[in-house]
Symmetry: D3
């Protein structure tokens, strides 16, 4: 039996894997919640778009790790249930569902979905995790224009709730305008910040070494906001900022993180209605694939 | 002083009017709330897009009414305050702000914003209003996938709360799949429904006569969901349905409604990120302009 | 359990039905073959796009038939296998696979896929079928620029191979430039042709009556080329021609065909890369849904 | 030798004709002047886009006239020279070049190019011509925001300069806001105006009869502004107005004009940067093709 | 009072500042003149698009300078008056209006608008200014296809008229094909040129040092043509050239220019109709914001 | 006579050269074959789009080589004949036509077209050529989902047929997932591979030196798959992969290859329907122009 050509890969699941076992060791799930975004909306359509774009990654192995994540105990359970138009109820639903899963790789939705994911992880792990956070924004505001749980306050609450260990937290790609006190608070908590300009002035080797130094050997989480990438690489997102990372930089950094004990990940803020010929959705799919290959090839 | 060319009309207000008096007899306001939408999101960007597109309507008079709404006591007060990511709080804010305004022409946002507008109107008018409702959907569901105040349940609540008089309510352009009991409930309340196919099989003269017959001489409200138009005329919307009204039909019908005692209106569900060269935003702006000219030319 | 909101309907199958039984009475299948198109390519992506767009049709019943096709014995088996870059081998594969299915509703791909579908039907039915053919083009060329089995020659061969009965064949929406001898040949075979201008000058009632007169009570097939619709309604197609049918006309005609004994159907030539905010994909999905509702509600 | 498939038709000339004889009886020329437009710019790219889109019209004969304009003595001489950024100098150049050509079918550029074309025609014909003018706008302003020769004043000057006979002038599709005195002036000159709503309320037969009544047997000119069409059919234009003609209506009207003594034509205001999948460019190309077939089939 | 979310920032002024005092120390103004462009047109729409995109920059301080330009004595006076379709008259109007303003940050329009801005500055400053010129093109042609004041000849005239001091002029990002004699003339005048390849082969530190060396301590002007950026970062422009600067490079260079005595700036050649999800407009807005922060934080 | 402005350059030939002599020393030809692509289709439209985009390169000389390829003995013969929908027949036609031409610079179409071009070259040169191959994919699969001559197997066959010398073959930009055995086979044949990450970690100087070392002084061929570029620089392609080369890198490398004895080249896989404002088409045109300038300036 010949495999279907790329364009005919079934689009209903990531990498066309067609396995939906909620008990799988690695689980893909979409979380189509986007109502906490502060600028352009529409990230609810991301899980569908990322799954469709992942067809480009099906035919073969990762050219660095020589690993194919379809060979992992990996399933795609579809999208988690959310409560339409209700952040608090959605977060509760997400936390409950995520709590029943093993190693989860989630596709947002906006960045707010990371908070209930971290809450579920906190329960499962029993201690705050380290955090590798790619983003244009620190997302450590106490609230967003009055909304406590919107996409720009997720890590304020994650720190305050003891979900992540700020001294084991590093943010990569930061470059948006922000209140100075938010920056100071973040650093004051012990968080490490590498701005996008820091990345451009450095090398993937050095950046990866810094990340590994911060994360250490304890359990860590990857939260990849697609707006960490430059708008040229990721036009399909809600709060773009120029001057961002190029996709090769993100890939190069992630490939140098073998040994980090990742226990979960998300790729958030892909906004298909603002995308161009699927390039942002493909970037999102590829980052998830890089993550899976990193883990799969190194265990 | 020569007027600026069309492309240089200031885009910060509808028709470039540059008047923002909250006490004006007719008031334009945007309501960038879109979190109760059930499919594609992004109607929050509509007020900005509709205002920008209205530059095409600045230079001259309506070619049927020979009236220019800029000569009305009309102001554009910008966007109403909403609560980010919170439907209930937003509705409360919208109702309170709308309650302080006279004749309001609002630009959504999704259709849910009509509910607090009608609540405010109910307080001001003191009785249920008649309703002329252009839409592909009845929007008379009791809830939307569990959410009580999303964009598909607005007129269920408007009827149940006594905000609109169902026997003085007429819906134009209906054509979406829907549960049969929702259809039956709507008719059972006394609402008149003209499907899109009914409109195509009839004439604007007859449709307008039916509308006037239903609305009668008492105060009435116009709620214009842009998805009443066919996706060819309005691709930029969240829940498109094929087979809809052409824009000339909507214009022809509205122009035949002189004498109806309108006390407020909204144009909702324009979604700029899915639009094409501003044609949906222009349709939204033009409908509002038709409405203002209808009123201004006939008082 | 609350149904997922529209945006979260699983996109891997038509209407999110999630049933893939090849032995179901009604079967949906995609056929991502597009190499026989003569202008813009890319209809291979249509099955994925039509399935995704069908989420708009999930929540409720058809507003004329009050029928929900999800209640039919309907499955979506995914895409048929094709031979990459090889028309003849693909046609053989399509015919063989279609031959094992019951009542098939296929999503092309380009129009050439209809030929093997009709061959399979001929074997199953044992006689030529009647044909209702919506299209801007007659598709009765003997070949296409030297290619015998491209998308513009499908019905020449279908007639010559005795797959369809030309006297029970009617074409709706024809309007493209064509060689006069092709037109004459088609009429000479006994085919009825209603141009797009004929449709615009008539009414759905009359058109439907003509169709029923031509098709009669024997088994018939519906082949719906999306380019029968006007480019305003269906920009996402490979060989657009202006002046076409509006989508409401196509719907109105199909709804008047109760009693026709349809034994299969296809919707072809949707080209997502040229589409706008999914409106063409939605048109394709809606036509298939109209067809299923027509059959389901009237048996 | 097999003709090239549609996608491979040479794009450098209209219909791929590849004849560039300035002395041909019928001559196609582009006029990439767009600096007199008052809203969105970019019609300078229209000649290239219309030529490319015309590949859809190459393979066969007109399905009403059974005529192929490639069989006419027709050439495409490319684009006329213009003076970059200078309306007056461009008009002088256009007039001079057009004066050396026989029956010209020109592709704008913005509508201002019609003025020098009519000046050249006046010299050649020796009397004012009749005018069939499809447009959303009367274009009879004395000036445009101070600019005397922009795209909205062309027919004011054409009338005042005695280039067209206002009593033999008819405008079809008018619907934009305009100053009342401009409307009154136009009617006062004897011009006939059929608004878009007039067209929707009538039939092509009646409209064509009115046109023939106005134009009479003397020489006439066709100026087709693509914005006469509805934005759904022609999103790619600079000054769109909703409620316009559908492309089938324009085609139906033109096909009923056999016998009118046309001496020249233009298709203007196509704006490719705002187009969608070439549908506006195709509409422009098709209108020119309809015109050529009307003339070629009836002489 | 809670600030409005990003999507609700009023779009009528830069950064939503809502101050329009022509006598402010720093003044924003749009100049919607685009008729001197030599390829794609439409930069007239840039002021509106840049203002709208600037909403992303409102909420917080510059993450390097920790400065918010809204705290400066800054106003946005809207768009300068231009003469529709007339370069010379527009330049005269621009010069006159600019002459009445203090430190102006202008949004083109095409690059030709810089000439009257420099003329006004020459009058105000009393001596030629230094020039920092980001561009893909030298713009030192004597004329453009016969047009003396189009967008490619602005700095020829600025030098010849003594508006800028060529020995204090440096061009960054140059890479377009050009006549050799234009290159030689430019160098011969004493202008420094750093090609895009020079920038890619160097570092922001070195480039900034070169710029400061050229500009010295006397008054200087920044003219930022958005096509200095790579088409991936700025697809929305009229004369793109591949191989350009990435947006982070432009930002990094500008941030290293503290101490330069800038007396005015412009951002030109943004073309919204060719943009993708506002990324070019955002780039333009961000460059202006970088400039304002550089000045505001260092005075 | 003044040259036409950029927007008015005739679009029917590359650089508007208007010379179509098949016997010219350097010949441009399009090859609109795209049926062997495995993901998104539509590269058939590339020759038209690349020719149109090349208007940006007409006015002047290459800013490094100070050479204008219009001064070369260069012609554009239009598109080669292909067999619609038939890979084998098309390849035979391409080989035959290419065999009659001198130094050919071809615009695909998909990458499969390179095989018959290399076959023709083998006959003309009499020995295997060296190969400089820019691509995201090795294209050394034995077949593609069962299709022997699709776009991903071209260099397997080129090596096996002795058309290229694998020890004189170097691939630049490789980064797609692929079967490990394909990678091993390629290296095993002696091919040199520089991944995209290798390029990002190196410099154009070093990369060019490696290329020259591999190619040596014997005849070599350049095959430039546009998907070697990052999707940000080339969204308009069928099989995008993130992390690719930036266009400046490709230009910098090619400019350092003076002395390589190139005997032919192609630019393939541009897909206009997925492009954004022509940036991919411009990239394709610019690469061809770089190649011509490299050769023209150094002979």
């Amino acid at each position: 039996m010949i495999e279907p050509p790329t364009f005919a890969v079934p689009s209903g699941s990531f990498l066309g894997i067609g396995r939906a076992d909620a008990g799988a060791e690695f689980v893909i799930a979409g979380i189509p919640l986007d109502i906490g975004t502060t600028n352009r909306a529409g990230a609810r359509d991301a899980p569908r778009a990322i799954r469709a774009a992942s067809r480009m990654l099906v035919d073969g192995q990762h050219p660095h790790w020589w690993f194919d994540p379809k060979t992992m105990p990996l399933s795609d359970i579809g999208d988690l249930q959310i409560a339409l138009g209700d952040i608090a109820a959605s977060h509760a639903l997400i936390e409950r569902q995520a709590g029943m899963l093993s190693h989860l790789v989630a596709f947002g939705g906006e960045h707010g979905v990371t908070l209930p994911l971290l809450r579920a992880l906190r329960l499962r792990i029993g201690e705050p995790v380290g955090l590798l956070h790619f983003d244009a924004h620190c997302d450590t505001s106490e609230d967003n224009f009055g909304q406590i749980h919107a996409h720009g306050s997720v890590f304020y609450h994650a720190i305050m709730e003891g979900l992540v260990d700020p001294r084991r937290t590093i943010q990569i790609g930061i470059r948006a305008p922000m209140p100075r006190d938010m920056w100071d608070w973040t650093l004051g908590q012990g968080v490490s910040i590498l701005t996008a300009q820091d990345v451009h002035a450095s090398t993937p080797d050095k950046i990866a070494a810094q990340i590994k130094g911060v994360l250490g050997p304890a359990p860590s989480y990857l939260s990849f906001d697609i707006d960490s990438l430059d708008p040229s690489c990721a036009p399909g997102t809600g709060t773009p900022e120029i001057g961002g990372l190029l996709s090769w930089q993100a890939q190069a950094i992630i490939r140098r993180l073998a040994g980090v004990k990742f226990v979960g990940a998300d790729v958030v803020e892909v906004l298909p209605a603002c995308d161009v010929s699927e390039i942002t959705a493909l970037a999102g799919a590829t980052i998830a694939w890089e993550y899976l290959c990193l883990l799969g090839a190194n265990r």
